[in-house]
């Protein structure tokens, strides 16, 4: 029986650290890799179309701290997390995910990232690994292209679940700095980018009508009602 042989071999380090191996057996998905993941010097290419000459690529610095790869403690599971997500718009079908991996295999970001895997994020959400998934940096690598959502055979709105998780991370104060900039710009100018004066002047020269004036008062009212204000301004509404 060839299958039992490697198992026995695996069991050997058990004596050293019984705890760690048990956890790894429980949830092999997140078990720490036995060998360190090599940092590729070339970008992974799609299997279907090998490029004739792989071009030079600069060395990839590690993308994340890989919190999702650390061993899981029993007290991390929160069975109500999936229920909470299930009540939100777009999170209704989270429980239906059977981990087929269509999302990850079709994800454009996952092709070039050595850490972002939508299937992992969905599984972490299902298991209720609240702290782990909300503090994961990879949560912010989804490009919202919705390929996963469109192709999920179980109709799980993968990108929407990720959006729900991001919103929850923001409530804990976790958010890449770019979003604070975009948010501040919306509150100040009503659009997400501060358009330089020179650009506005150029519009006239190009024969374009002036950019319509926004209504920052309306932005402030909506932002205060939705809690967006305190996220961006860092002060109570």
């Amino acid at each position: 029986m060839p299958q039992t042989a490697p198992r026995k071999r695996k069991a050997e380090p058990k004596k050293k650290s019984l705890k760690a191996t048990k956890k790894a057996e429980l949830v092999p998905e997140f078990a720490p890799p036995q060998t360190p993941v090599p940092t590729p010097t070339l970008p992974p290419l799609p299997a279907s179309t090998p490029l004739p000459q792989p071009p030079k690529v600069e060395e990839k610095p590690p993308e994340t701290t890989l919190v999702e790869m650390a061993p899981i403690r029993a007290d991390e599971f929160d069975p109500y997390f999936k229920v909470e997500i299930g009540k939100m718009h777009g999170g209704e079908k989270l429980k239906l995910c059977f981990q087929c991996g269509t999302c990850t295999s079709d994800c454009p970001i996952a092709r070039f990232s050595n850490s972002y895997r939508p299937r992992h994020i969905i599984r972490m959400a299902q298991l209720g690994l609240r702290d782990r998934v909300l503090s994961s940096e990879t949560l912010w690598l989804c490009a919202s292209c919705f390929t996963c959502t469109d192709r999920c055979p179980q109709d799980v709105e993968v990108a929407s679940v990720i959006r729900i998780l991001r919103n929850a991370a923001v409530k804990r104060g976790i958010m890449p700095p770019i979003f604070k900039e975009l948010g501040a710009s919306i509150l100040d100018t009503c659009i997400a980018y501060q358009i330089p004066e020179l650009r506005l002047k150029k519009r006239g020269e190009a024969g374009l009508p002036p950019l319509p004036k926004g209504n920052p008062e309306a932005m402030a009212k909506l932002a205060k009602a939705t809690g967006f204000w305190s996220t961006v301004r860092g002060e109570a509404a």
Partner: protein, 304 residues
């Protein structure tokens, strides 16, 4: 006036969004010229705000409120919206649909909007320029407007994800087998080039968090286009355009490669076919030099 009646009228509110006036005015210039030539009467949209998509990861309700406010402004004028950015169009369509279907959500968002003196009723439509061209202008009318068929050009497309994704919310074209931009390119007389993974994302949305992954995605797509011998790329999204045009030189340097594929906004391509001049279509604003493409496109008219 119902949404259907507004659809048949030629008036449209032009929703500029954020990225177009910020970086890609060539898209706006060419779209305005081409749409007015095709009989669309564009109306400015006072007091509009961001569609909400950029801050959806931060606060979903704020996104809904921002999108709904724009729809309310259009409802007040009784004119449907055309957006140049597929992100804006997709968001407005999605929120319009959601708020019409979900009474509880509509009441919640209307509660927020009440403070600004607005109420969402769901009486207008929002469309991306591609959808407007296909459904409201019509391929036949566009075909008749072509004066200078671009038979010398081999054109590839990158439509951008949000033109048709998520399919059940946007409800336009088939994201797995998109045809609309293809038809619109073929109508100009150009040769349409198929290439590997043409529906793949360019990665632009995460550029603010991680810029290496988007550059690699874009590089891979440029590679596939080059392999397929595409001489021109057409986009209909300001973000995709920044990835392929603005960043093309950077990608060439970074990966030590050579692409030199000019990246046009679709209205620029259509404009050339309709006989508008490169100046009128703001072609000189493109970063990747389009002069070879322009000489191929205008060869016939000059020869006559």
């Amino acid at each position: 006036m119902t949404a259907a009646e507004q659809g048949s009228s030629s008036k449209r509110l032009l929703f500029l969004g954020c990225a177009v006036p910020y970086r890609v005015s060539s898209y706006e210039i060419s779209a305005r010229r081409v749409l007015s030539k095709l009989g669309i009467d564009l109306v400015e949209m006072p007091e509009y705000n961001c569609c909400g998509l950029p801050i959806d990861p931060v606060n979903h309700e704020m996104m809904l409120a921002l999108a709904a406010r724009n729809l309310c402004l259009a409802e007040k004028q009784g004119i449907s919206i055309v957006a140049l950015c597929p992100g804006c169009a997709g968001t407005l369509r999605k929120v319009n649909k959601k708020l019409k279907e979900d009474k509880a959500l509509r009441e919640k968002i209307n509660g927020y909007l009440k403070e600004t003196g607005l109420e969402f009723r769901g009486t207008v439509e929002a469309k991306h320029i591609l959808q407007l061209l296909v459904e409201d202008v019509g391929l036949e009318k566009i075909k008749n407007a072509v004066r200078n068929p671009l038979t010398e050009l081999s054109v590839a497309e990158h439509a951008g994800c949000h033109v048709s994704r998520p399919a059940k919310d946007v409800g336009f074209d088939d994201p797995e087998n998109p045809e609309m931009l293809k038809k619109l390119i073929e109508v100009t007389g150009a040769r349409y080039i198929e290439y590997t993974d043409k529906t793949a994302c360019c990665g632009a949305p995460i550029a603010g968090v991680n810029d290496r992954i988007p550059l690699q995605l874009t590089r891979e797509k440029l590679h596939h286009m080059k392999e397929a011998a595409a001489k021109v790329l057409v986009t209909v999204c300001p973000f995709c355009h920044m990835m392929f045009d603005t960043n093309q030189l950077r990608i060439e340097k970074m990966f030590n490669e050579d692409f030199k594929i000019p990246v046009l906004h679709y209205p620029q391509l259509l404009g050339l076919a309709m006989g508008l001049s490169p100046e009128e279509l703001a072609l000189k604003e493109l970063r990747v030099d389009p002069s070879l493409m322009i000489s191929l496109a205008t060869r016939k008219t000059e020869g006559n």
